[in-house]
């Protein structure tokens, strides 16, 4: 089995970007999914799915 090239993105790009985003406020961690719902702008179908 060959090494997956996509590991470059999911190991070397995504984690540092996520860490950086969290530290500069471009991402956030909240306690529960329902709590950020009011603050988050989500697509209408997603809202619909969550509230079903």
């Amino acid at each position: 089995m060959r090494y997956p090239l996509w590991a470059f993105f999911f190991i070397l790009i995504l984690p540092p970007c996520t860490t950086h985003a969290l530290l500069i406020g471009e991402a956030e961690l909240s306690a529960a999914p329902s709590a950020p719902l009011a603050a988050a702008t989500v697509p209408a179908y997603w809202t619909h799915a969550v509230t079903r």
Binding site: L5, F8, A21, I24, E26, P33, A39, T41, A44
Partner: protein, 599 residues
């Protein structure tokens, strides 16, 4: 002798001094009309405008996608550049124009879109799961930037799959282990995050604007500030390491190998420069000029020049088979010294170049040494090229060297440990980037690959647009050729920093460069269609990053290398970068398409 025919769009190409069999390797490239890239841009403009209008005006789509892009992740914020629409528009335009049959184009487009949708969909799914489990919520900016990076990477990977590429080659055995490269990269990344968080904490309005469109600028992919901070830290690290570890003088016998195809007009000056450098070098210097299928009397001019140069021991060899790598390999075979320097026939080494380059080989693990290719000056592109060189070889190369991550040492001047060169397989024939290929393989054998900005030589810069185009199309195609041939480093399980980080980054960056002009058009579309209230802000930020960021990086590189005068070329450099991006698009369009095969 040559079986190469110039493309139909260049009827008199063979009469140009710069055209050769290496300009467009047979089977791997195809003739490219000068209208192909404009066709891509025109088609892209139409498709992007249509998609933007649909997503912003069709009520059903406006309700489904309040983010004005095709994003399924939860996110915070309401606005960003709709990069998923951008990527899909580019894919459609590129696939429509690329030189292949209709079925091959459809298949290529289908795979591009399918892979992009799949990866973005997985990314969105991961975000949904992360949001539900730990409440992780990205801003829309971050989602869009990462979507753009995915788009660049998919494009390059699919080009590798669908394009006519060199066959995978066996890799040479490793001889040394270069330790702690990954650790050094990790430390530098952590430091870059800290620096960029610190600067971001200042909360300057300009930083906020630039970050929202950071993909579009010459700073490259990634969150704005992080990548420049990373390279700055690595540059400082590399510079300090070089200062602290100055090698001792080392002057063994060496051979200078010069492949020459129709270079009668310049070979005399080149050899005189070698003679001047040999005066500053304590060891014996041999010169091998390989007359490669010349028709202008290069051999005679070389003999006459050598007759007047008492210090270097030179001879001319006739290599009738056309191809620079063919000539170089003949030179390697004829070399009987432990060290070899290849230079182009129009490279003028400066007097200290040999002694400065060779001292690095006092380290028995040094494998390749490169330097700083200075433009001669006076040509239309020279001032821009100087800044490009100072940034690439006087800054980024130092940074990559700090983590043993240098991939390519340009063949205009490259010093090799002869044994390492032979063990790496010599110079590959029939593809672009034979210099990058061999330095990559020598580096992966565990030898040190060194870029010393104090090794100076003067290298010709094209004086016509046609020559510049030919040169850059070769150079920008080489990333794909080198990655295809050395795919083992990317997809086997060895923890190779070059294979797992640097080469993928180069592929991503190459795609970004090919998409820069379309991205510029996309920013203008966003501005002129006035699709949302903040569009003017986005448009201004796009232009600020496209124009301002490269200028800042170029200025820094000029100052770091003590070349204050180079700052005068900044306006030309900014425009040159846009031209370079356009030529990257042309270079990927010139890749021939082959039937699918398993790599």
């Amino acid at each position: 002798m040559s079986s190469f025919s110039p493309p139909a769009s260049e009827p008199a190409a063979t009469s140009h001094r710069f055209w050769s069999v290496d300009s467009a390797p047979a089977r791997l490239t195809q003739p490219l009309s000068i209208w192909a890239a404009p066709a891509v841009l025109a088609l892209f403009t139409g498709v992007a405008a249509l998609l933007l209008l649909l997503v912003n005006r069709m009520p059903a789509l406006v309700e489904a996608f309040p983010n004005h892009d095709i994003v399924f992740s939860p996110y915070s914020g309401t606005h960003s550049v709709p990069l998923r629409i951008f990527v899909l528009s580019f894919y459609i335009a590129f696939a429509a124009v690329v030189g292949a049959g209709a079925l091959a184009r459809l298949r290529f487009l289908g795979e591009l879109i399918f892979t992009y949708v799949l990866v973005c969909g997985l990314f969105d799914l991961v975000n949904i799961l992360a949001w539900r489990s730990v409440g992780l919520l990205y801003s829309l900016h971050v989602v869009e930037i990462l979507s753009g990076l995915i788009g660049f990477f998919v494009f390059s990977l699919k080009l590798l799959d669908h394009g006519s590429m060199p066959a995978r080659a066996a890799v040479p055995e490793r001889r040394f282990v270069r330790r702690f490269a990954w650790l050094r990269l990790g430390v530098a990344m952590a430091g870059a995050i800290a620096v960029s968080v610190l600067v971001d904490g200042l909360d300057l309005p300009l930083i906020r604007d630039l970050r929202s469109v950071s993909l579009l600028g010459g700073t490259g992919p990634g969150v704005f500030l992080f990548l420049p901070a990373l390279f700055l830290l690595l540059y400082v690290w590399g510079t300090l390491t070089a200062w602290l570890g100055t090698p001792r003088p080392f002057t063994p016998p060496l051979t200078i190998v010069i492949p020459a195809h129709n270079e009668a007009h310049v070979i005399g000056r080149t050899l005189a420069a070698v003679e001047a450098a040999a005066r500053r070098y304590a060891g014996p210097v041999k010169v091998l000029v390989l007359d490669n299928n010349s028709t202008d009397g290069t051999a005679g001019a070389t003999e006459r020049a050598l007759a007047g140069l008492p210090l270097i021991h030179g001879r001319v060899l006739d290599v009738p088979t056309p191809g620079k790598a063919v000539a170089l390999n003949r030179g390697v075979a004829e070399t009987d010294t432990d060290y070899l320097i290849r230079i182009d026939a129009d490279t003028q080494v400066l007097p200290a170049a040999l002694s400065r380059a060779m001292r690095h080989f006092s380290d028995p693990q040094a494998g390749v040494v490169g330097g700083l290719p200075l433009p001669p000056g006076g040509g239309p592109f020279d001032r821009a090229r100087l800044l490009e060189v100072l940034l690439k070889h006087g800054y980024y190369q130092i940074a990559y060297g700090a983590i043993d991550g240098i991939v390519g040492v340009p063949g205009m001047f490259a010093a090799y440990r002869t044994e390492a060169l032979r063990a790496a397989g010599g110079f590959v024939q029939g593809m672009n980037g034979e210099d990058t290929d061999v330095s990559l393989r020598i580096g992966e054998m565990g030898y040190r690959v060194i870029g010393d900005p104090g090794v100076h030589y003067v290298s010709e810069v094209p004086v016509t647009y046609r020559h510049l185009r030919e040169q850059r199309m070769r150079w920008f195609r080489s990333v794909y050729h080198v990655c295809a041939r050395n795919r083992t480093y990317l997809d086997d399980w060895r923890p190779s920093l070059r294979g797992k980080a640097i080469l993928p980054f180069m592929l991503l960056n190459s795609a970004r460069r090919a998409m820069t002009v379309p991205l510029f058009i996309f920013g203008l579309l966003h501005l002129t269609l006035a699709l949302d209230a903040t569009a003017p802000l986005t448009g201004q930020a796009v232009l600020a990053v496209l124009l301002g960021a490269p200028a800042l990086m170029g200025a820094f590189a000029a100052l770091a290398n003590g070349r204050i005068g180079a700052l005068l070329g900044l306006p030309e450099y900014v425009l040159f970068r846009l031209l370079r991006s356009y030529l990257t698009l042309e270079s990927v369009l010139s890749i021939a398409f082959a039937p699918r095969r398993d790599a």
